[in-house]
Amino acid sequence: MKKDYSRRSFIKNISLATFAALALSGCDTEAFDEFLQKNFKTLSKKEKDEIVKNLESKYKKKYGKEFHVSDKPAIDGTLFGYALDLSRCIGCRRCVYACVKENNQSRNPQIHYIEVLQMEKEKGIDFADSNAQYNPEKVPEKGYFYVPVQCQQCRKPQCVTVCPVRATWQEPDGIVVVDYNWCIGCRYCMAACPYGARHFNWGEPTLPVEEINPEMHYLGNRPRKKGVVEKCTFCIQRVREGKYPACVEICPVGARKFGNLLDPDSEIRYILENKRVLVLKQELNFQPKFYYFFGI
């Protein structure tokens, strides 16, 4: 019995060694360090800073440009919330493309964090009858309205609960993030998310060097690799610096509102107070911090 056990652990050691050897193939110590890197959440401030610095120089080497990678933690007293005015949205998808640029999403294979659904006015919010592939000359089309869906930054995010390796978690400011270096790519979180908010890098992501956004956050828009999950982070690299998310800024009709739910004077608080809001799939009890309302 005992011997049997030691044989097993021997096999285990061998396989770990093979893993390491595989990771080392190409004799790349950087890749090896990356392979051994711990879960970001468990690291100290010092270790985080060091990793971020290394990343900057690595990206410089790779893309030949200066980048700034931040690991700025959540600011005390913030809990971000979002509100979207369904009566204003015209379905132009400008937010979709602004998001792609801001967050360095892969162009091919294509990844979009925001999906705009076209729905029939007569049916109300009905996913089964919605159309994401609408493509007319001019929006909005008669008889239709538009519901953009992205990560709802749930208060009870099941995507976090199900992750077998704790590669995704909710930050103190309410943003659900992914450690791209820790995610094993099992996609359990994608099965769990009821809003289709999580996207997988099925192939090696491509993004044109001249279009890379150099302002990055470790838990946000830094370039990803194939085989990991990514998602909307409310533009963590922007909102933690006091800026609006890119989709809020680009919206031509001002349908998108954003702010700190803990600040009584914020715009988001104003909307919650004075408009009547709803959340999608409220019956599932994920308790989104992404609200929809009818402004006019």
Binding site: D129, Q158, C183, I184, Y195
Partner: protein
């Protein structure tokens, strides 16, 4: 030292065999190579080689995983009837059931490995050095129970074979509790796997309390089907003795399982179709297709038809007791459950996707080749292990056979499968 001799003795056996045996090995090797090249494409370019996409983010691989969990669970649970009805070769049934379980669990884990985007990061799941999300994540539970189950079965069979090999009496006080423990563990691995899917409110198709019971019932159809055939082969080619009655009894038990499965499914369908909420969409997609998207219908109906024919064949005593129809039934039910678990259970949960969009999924060539690779590897392993077990259990291959000089006259011919 003793153990090493047991291992080397076992390895020796693996290389002795008839022409048919070698032909079978070569066939498996060819399949492994063919599948392996498919898989290497996936390793190089990522899961984009599969037909999975964001809408259908789990598919054929996880379906195969689910199917094999069922096989692993059912194989061991056959010990219960063997015990209750006092079939003579209970020890042998336990040994072969557990060997099958070991191979199935290894295949399960392989299907997980090929399904994840970063297989090298697998160590993130290991306790202590990784950050296993235990007990929150059902996947971590599954990983946990599967590994215990694997270890448990491995220990028991190895120990039993070891004892027979050295001609020593095995310790009942050691084996019996482990075998008994492996029975609830068999239920556990299967239930945990069902729970993995079950409690995701976003996936309405899975979010039914009947999922786990249906899981267990269908596993009891497919797992014994393999053993049914295996026992007949063993009976023909070795000294393994099992009465016709025992085989028919297994078939009879499978009928009960099929009936329960059928009943649960009808209950589910009644609820869905009579209440006619929008949740019906997923069943509609599975059974009839939505609009022009009918690709999956072929799979679901082939599974249903195979299952129904097998049910009838097993139900009627005359066809149940005829070995030709019995074996046809066994193959059919195996195929039926395979398609059911591989495709019909997974795909409708993702089609239409959570935002109501339809992405039509059918497995890609890469997925099929990878699956062929894993199944061939599993069969190869199972062939080797059964060969060793047959030699030791039925052909008196033991420690003396390793030192033939002393007892040349009495030496037993190693078995030919």
């Amino acid at each position: 030292m003793n153990f090493i001799r047991f291992i080397t003795g076992s390895i020796k056996i693996v290389f002795q065999g008839s022409k048919t045996y070698y032909a079978w090995l070569i066939l498996l090797l060819l399949l492994i190579i063919w599948g392996g090249f498919g898989y290497s494409g996936q390793l190089a370019h990522g899961l984009i080689q599969t037909h999975m996409r964001d809408s259908v983010s789990w598919a054929f691989y996880i379906g195969n995983f689910t199917f094999l969990v069922g096989v692993a669970a059912a194989a061991v649970m056959l010990v219960i009837p063997a015990y209750i009805y006092d079939w003579k070769p209970i020890k042998e049934i336990a040994i072969f059931g557990e060997l099958l379980a070991v191979c199935s669990v290894i295949m399960c884990l392989s299907f997980i490995i090929v399904d994840i985007g970063n297989p090298l990061r697998f160590w993130h799941m290991l306790p202590l050095i990784g950050t296993l999300n235990f007990p929150s994540s059902m996947l971590s539970w599954d990983f946990f129970v599967l590994n215990i189950y694997l270890l448990l079965n491995l220990v028991v069979v190895t120990y039993l074979l070891y004892c027979i090999f050295y001609k020593i009496e095995y310790k009942k006080s050691f084996v019996l509790p482990l075998v008994l423990f492996s029975i609830p563990m068999a239920v556990a691995i299967h239930t945990t796997t069902a729970f993995l899917y079950n409690a995701l409110p976003g996936r309405i198709f899975w979010n039914s309390a009947l999922l786990a019971p249906r899981f267990l019932a269908s596993a009891f159809c497919s797992g014994p089907a393999i053993l049914l055939i295996l026992f007949q082969i063993l009976r023909k080619t070795t000294k393994f003795e099992i009465k016709d009655e025992a085989i028919w009894k297994i078939a009879e038990l499978m009928v009960y399982a099929m009936f329960i499965y059928l009943f649960f499914t009808i209950a589910e369908l009644f609820k869905e179709f009579y209440s006619g909420t929008e949740h019906i969409l997923y069943w509609k997609y599975l059974l009839f297709g939505i609009g022009d998207h009918k690709e999956i219908v072929l799979y679901s109906w082939s599974s249903i038809i195979m299952g129904c024919i097998a049910f009838v064949l097993f139900l009627i005593p005359k066809t149940r007791k005829n070995f030709i129809t019995l074996n046809i039934g066994a193959f059919l039910i195996y195929g039926s459950v395979y398609v059911e678990k591989g495709i019909a259970l997974i795909i409708p949960a993702f089609t239409p996707d959570v935002l109501g969009q339809i992405y039509v999924y059918t497995p890609s060539m890469t997925e099929i080749r990878t699956a062929v690779m894993i199944f061939s590897l599993g069969f190869l392993l199972f062939t080797f292990l059964s060969k060793i077990a047959i030699a030791i259990v039925f052909d008196n291959y033991n420690i003396d056979s390793l030192t033939p000089k002393k007892r040349l006259s009495k030496q037993v011919q190693p078995l030919i499968l």
